[in-house]
């Protein structure tokens, strides 16, 4: 019996050992797959958390699990008011960030920063020029002889819009007004430059003014909004390209989610907004609605959201060059990479 017992036990023990070894090998193999598949990256929004579409796309992708479905772990950060995102991405401290297309081109041309735009949100620019309805100004042609505000720098698109009406800044009094729309309410200036996504709401809802906003894009001036950008060095690495494609796929999904259901997108955004003071959700919704409207065009309807062309960037560069915002021309092909969008929207 003992012999029998031994003979029975031995194959059983061997079977158990083999099964255990197989289970361990399988679990190791599976866990190995997981760790290889899960990629992490750092995103930094170029301002404070609020419902700007390039930020909302990231919030929604995180909250709705789109990043997780792509096997992506995203560390979401914000630069606040510092502008540090522009340097941190060049130093490799973060992977992807946001910047207005005109500013991206300017920094690339003037300081040689190897930025590469990979997705475009605003199909038109973020700036507008607000006037009180009581001012009698009905078009930019009426700016002549008026007090016109600017925020530190007169935008190239403003020069181009004036040129479209046969004017230059010499035909008006230019005043550096800083960042307070009350100067328009107090009529210290007749024209006040606004960030389209928030200041018109402040002027109409908070300051109770009836205003008209002129946009350079309406007068044939090529303007573009915010892009997602990475660096040339980042794109040289295959793993980086893989995680960037996953990131863009998830954020494009989130972008479409926000277009379909902006209220739900704002709910996802709330988790990222500062709690003190409590967020003004009506204002946040205004920001999102404005940016969604500016992010959709015939081009995106034909090709998919986030789409852009080389011609768009070329035209914007030409305007920036003409009015001295760029010191050197740049090779647009190096400044943009559409391969990810082409792959995702194919």
């Amino acid at each position: 019996m003992p012999t029998f017992a031994v003979s029975i036990r031995k194959p059983l023990a061997l079977a158990f050992a083999a099964a255990a070894a197989a289970a361990i090998a399988f679990s190791v193999a599976c866990s190995g797959d997981d760790s290889d598949d899960l990629l992490s990256m750092t995103y930094m929004g170029g301002f404070v958390p609020q419902a700007n579409l390039p930020f909302v796309a990231v919030y929604v992708a995180e909250e709705q699990g789109f990043f997780a479905e792509e096997g992506l772990e995203v560390d979401i950060q914000h630069a606040g008011f510092t502008g540090s995102h522009k340097s941190l991405i060049l130093a490799g401290e973060i992977d992807i960030t946001t910047l207005p297309a005109s500013e991206m081109l300017q920094v690339r041309a003037n300081s040689g920063a190897p930025y590469v735009a990979v997705m475009l949100f605003g199909q038109r620019g973020d700036f507008g020029y607000a006037v009180l309805n009581s001012s009698g100004i009905e078009s930019p042609a009426d700016f002549a002889g008026r007090n016109v505000g600017f925020k530190g720098i007169v935008q190239s698109e403003f020069h181009a819009m004036l040129a479209a009406h046969g004017l230059t800044t010499n035909d008006m009094t230019m005043r550096d007004v800083g960042f307070n729309p009350v100067v328009l309410v107090e009529q210290q200036v007749d024209v006040y430059p606004v960030f389209l996504s928030n200041e018109p709401d402040t002027l109409t809802r908070n300051l109770n003014q009836e205003i008209t906003v002129f946009e350079a894009a309406d007068y044939g001036v090529p303007t573009l909004g915010v892009v997602y950008l990475v660096t040339e060095e980042f794109l040289e690495d295959e793993t980086n390209r893989e995680k960037l494609e996953r990131f863009l796929r998830a954020t494009i999904r989130a972008f479409e989610f926000a277009v379909e259901d902006p209220a739900a997108a704002i709910e996802s955004t709330e988790a990222f907004l500062a709690e003190d003071p409590p967020p003004d959700l009506v204002h946040e919704r205004f920001i999102l609605d404005t940016e969604i409207e500016n992010a959709l065009s015939d081009l995106t309807r034909a090709n998919g959201v986030g789409w852009f062309t080389q011609q768009q960037f070329r035209a914007l560069t030409d305007v920036l060059l003409e009015y001295g915002a760029l010191e050197n021309d740049i090779d647009i092909e190096q400044a943009i990479d559409r391969s990810f969008l082409e792959s995702i929207h194919r």
Partner: protein, 282 residues
């Protein structure tokens, strides 16, 4: 009539005019004045250069000091001209802030009620972040130089106010009694007793506020960058990530700050020497 300030009653002899305690100041810059900060700056620059080169620090985070110095000399005219604008704002603010604070301190030194009324307001203004006030100053004072000068004045007045109050009150009570005994008027007491007592305090506060006024000017220029100044250059170049130009502007600011600080020290010596001249009483 008392024609000159008296600071020490025990040493005072009306019949024998006092001899100046200080000899005429030697205003020539000496090696001991210039060399230490220069050596320290050079050592700092060398340390940063080594750190950036050997530590492989990204040029987008920290430029090499050699590049900064190159930019400084290549574009010297620009930094100098913009520096003059910042200097004008700074000096305007310093003059207004110092004058206002000194006048207020003179009143406060004579009145405890005024002190109780004014000091909480002064402290309230002091603790208000200046940056938060700039957009309002633009609305109140217009879009030119005025708001910038006002910011520089606002940032400088407090150290002067507190020091001047202390100085105007730091008088020998026996001297005060003496002035009263000779029927000196309030103005005479102020001019010959309180004012000389306050001068060292004023200069001590000026050494602080002269650099604060530069900071105020630069901060205001960030907001009103269309009119130039080193603050505007820093803001514009920072936006274009041209850190060499940012740091070259800071270098020019440093030179202006050191020049102003030195000017205050020289003025203090001159003034102290003048106050220490013989006193005659009649």
């Amino acid at each position: 009539m008392i024609s000159k300030p008296i600071s020490d009653l025990d040493a005072y002899d009306a019949a024998e005019p006092r001899r100046p305690r200080l000899s005429r100041p030697d205003l020539r810059p000496t090696l001991t004045w210039i060399l230490p900060p220069l050596v320290a700056l050079v050592l700092l620059a060398v340390a940063v250069e080594l750190w950036v080169r050997l530590g492989d620090v990204s040029i987008w985070l920290m430029p090499r000091p050699t590049s900064v110095i190159e930019s400084f000399f290549v574009d010297f005219g620009r930094y100098f001209n913009e520096g003059l604008k910042t200097l004008a704002v700074s000096l305007g603010g310093l003059a207004i802030g110092t004058a206002a604070a000194t006048l207020l301190a003179a009143g406060v030194a004579h009145s405890n009620i005024l002190e109780r009324a004014v000091l909480p307001i002064a402290i309230m203004v002091k603790v208000t972040p200046v940056v938060a006030l700039i957009p309002l100053f633009i609305i109140w004072l217009g879009h030119g130089w005025n708001p910038k000068i006002a910011i520089a004045a606002l940032i400088t007045y407090f150290p002067v106010l507190i020091n001047a109050i202390a100085g105007f009150r730091d008088i020998d009570p026996r001297m005060h009694d003496f002035f009263r005994s000779v029927n000196a008027s309030t103005w005479e007491i102020f001019r010959h007793l309180r004012w000389p007592a306050a001068v060292p305090y004023l200069f001590a506060s000026l050494k602080i506020s002269v650099t604060l006024s530069l900071i105020g000017a630069v901060v205001a220029e960030f907001f009103l960058s269309g009119q130039g100044g080193l603050g505007a250059v820093i803001w514009i170049e920072q936006n274009s990530l041209r850190l060499e130009q940012v740091f070259a502007s800071v270098l020019m600011l440093t030179i202006i700050g050191m020049t102003l600080s030195t000017a205050v020290v020289v003025a203090e010596r001159l003034f102290s020497w003048r106050l220490d001249q013989p006193v005659t009483a009649s």
